[in-house]
């Protein structure tokens, strides 16, 4: 069953310009951060969304929890259209969907004890009284491994390490028992030796709450650990989507293959390594046909002229005129 569904979602950010340019140029130019993206996250399912910087993956995540207003398309949550939801109605619905950010140093209020920050969503959404919220906060502190919880409750963020702060952020997002969370690169700022402990906590909650997750990451190896399904994003568009192991085993899109081949691995891999040209795509003026064609070694005239559509091949969706065999 589908919990979250996005259809043709768009988000265009106007480009900041200098004063003279603003006077001379009439047309406002846009960065098409998310451009006609459709995706689904099923109940209890984790979809790993992988992309490089500037691919629009974080924007997509923020759109789904309505921290940004979409410029087009629809978002449906559990059958309810939440695309244009506003004000108090939107705030009340926030109990159902939450977000965890990448930077645990910036996502906590430096001047409030962490316990209070964890308890606050409960009281603010009128789900518990102040004293109930406090005991709930202590409970969840314990389950994210911050023991003894009484000690951690009264600490300020600067007294905690990065890993501990990320645990706090997770506790704050999950204390309201949401149905869906967006985890926006939750471990990429943490050291590798403690990464898995954070993923472990998310995994436990996922099972307990039958949580649906959109796990955003730039690291395919992490994506592989968390997501049954995988979506690869490039320049505002999804280029490939399907079951994680299938894609890693046999990528169909050249970009996906280049991504897999570029990841350093401690295990020996003997494979043809596909490289892409180091051309920076301009997100304001993306290539007209396929967005990858200036970098793709297989590009033809057709790729330059015609944009490939996401089409279903072998149980996955691929946007390429010449999918790899």
């Amino acid at each position: 069953m589908v919990l979250v569904e996005a259809r043709d979602l768009k988000k265009y950010f106007p480009v900041e310009k200098g004063v003279i340019e603003r006077i001379l140029a009439r047309k406002v130019r846009y960065v098409r951060a998310v451009d006609n993206v459709s995706l689904e996250v099923g109940k209890g399912e984790t979809l790993a969304l992988v992309g490089e910087s500037g691919s629009g993956k974080s924007t997509l995540g923020r759109l789904l929890v309505r921290l940004l207003d979409p410029d087009g398309g629809t978002i449906t949550f559990n059958g309810i259209d939440i695309t244009r939801l506003k004000g108090e109605k939107l705030r009340k619905l926030r109990r159902r969907f939450q977000i965890i950010f990448q930077d645990p140093y910036a996502s906590l209020n430096p001047r409030m004890v962490v316990g209070e920050q964890i308890a606050q969503p409960l009281t603010e959404l009128e789900l518990a009284s102040a004293s109930e919220a406090k005991s709930e906060a202590l409970k969840i502190l314990k389950s994210v491994g911050l023991v003894p919880p009484e000690d951690f409750y009264n600490k300020y963020p600067h007294q905690l390490s990065g890993g501990q702060r990320q645990r706090v952020a997770i506790a704050r997002a999950l204390i309201v028992k949401p149905d869906f969370i967006v985890a926006d690169e939750p471990v990429s700022m943490l050291d590798v030796s403690i990464r898995a402990s954070i993923l472990d906590i998310l995994e436990t909650f996922k099972r307990e709450l039958s949580l649906s997750t959109l796990f955003i990451t730039h690291d395919l190896a992490v994506a592989r650990l968390v997501g049954e399904k995988l979506a690869i994003m490039y320049l505002g568009k999804i280029v490939e989507e399907g079951p994680t192991e299938d894609i890693l085993e046999k990528p169909l899109h050249p970009y996906t293959k280049a991504l897999i081949d570029s990841i350093p691995s401690i295990r020996k891999r003997e494979k043809s390594k596909l490289g892409l040209k180091d051309v920076t795509p301009d997100p304001v003026n993306p290539p007209e046909g396929c967005r990858l064609y200036p970098r793709c070694p297989f590009a033809t005239e057709e790729c330059k002229l015609r944009e490939p559509k996401l089409e279903t091949i072998k149980g996955r969706r691929v946007a390429c005129h010449y999918p790899l065999q």
Partner: protein
Amino acid sequence: MLSQTILKYPGSIKIAVGALIVSIIALLALTSPIIAPYDPTRSVGTPFIPPSREHLMGTDHLGFDVFSRIIWGARTVLQVVVSATITALIVGVTLGVVSGYYGGILDRVFSMIMDSLYAFPSLILAIAIAAVLGPSPYNAAIAISVVYIPVYYRMVRGQTLAIKAQLFVEAAKASGVRDRVIMARYVLPNIAHTIFVVASLNIADAILTEAGLSFLGLTVSPPTPDWGFDLRIGQRFLLLGYWWLSVFPGLAIMVLALGFALIGEGLSDRLQIRAIR
């Protein structure tokens, strides 16, 4: 040990000296009935007695004791300036946070009003308002607070814009926290330290404005003791050689302003170091 503390808490010398000055003057104001040797509103000797053992700072043209008037005058200046600053702070900070947080038309209207107020030289604006309202300590306080509201507003609005862009505000919003709670618990505490710096630097300025107003006779009516007023009167006799009539009130104004300015500078030194760390 001491040098370590100073290194660790830069600005602490400035803060200590400033606080000492301000608290001595505040103490004078609180205890003026006890420590002032004479009634400041009655002639207690012949006019123009130079500083002596009976009259530490001499007497003025009416035979009032200058020392007693200085001590009682501390009350006037502190009452007017402190109440004006608190008013300006509350109004300016509230409007600044709301305006910066919500943005939109509300923000534009407030910003326009505040900018136009800010465009006036502060003393001239205060004089104009006080003149329209009529001379009284209350009106002087109102005039001074109106002058300084834009200072707080602009600073707080700018800071609010910066804090609003921080991830923790977005995170709070995403977790369902109400806007007014975000303003009160997320924005305000994170700009409070700058507000204190600006406030203490501002009080120093407000003291000079108050002195300016009373110099023009726009705060209290004679013979209520008031430093600015006494300075103006005393200045007339300066060329006749009766320097003590104006020098002592002038010094008092200077020292009090210096006290607050030191506190403000010390606090800002400390903040800058914190920012670097």
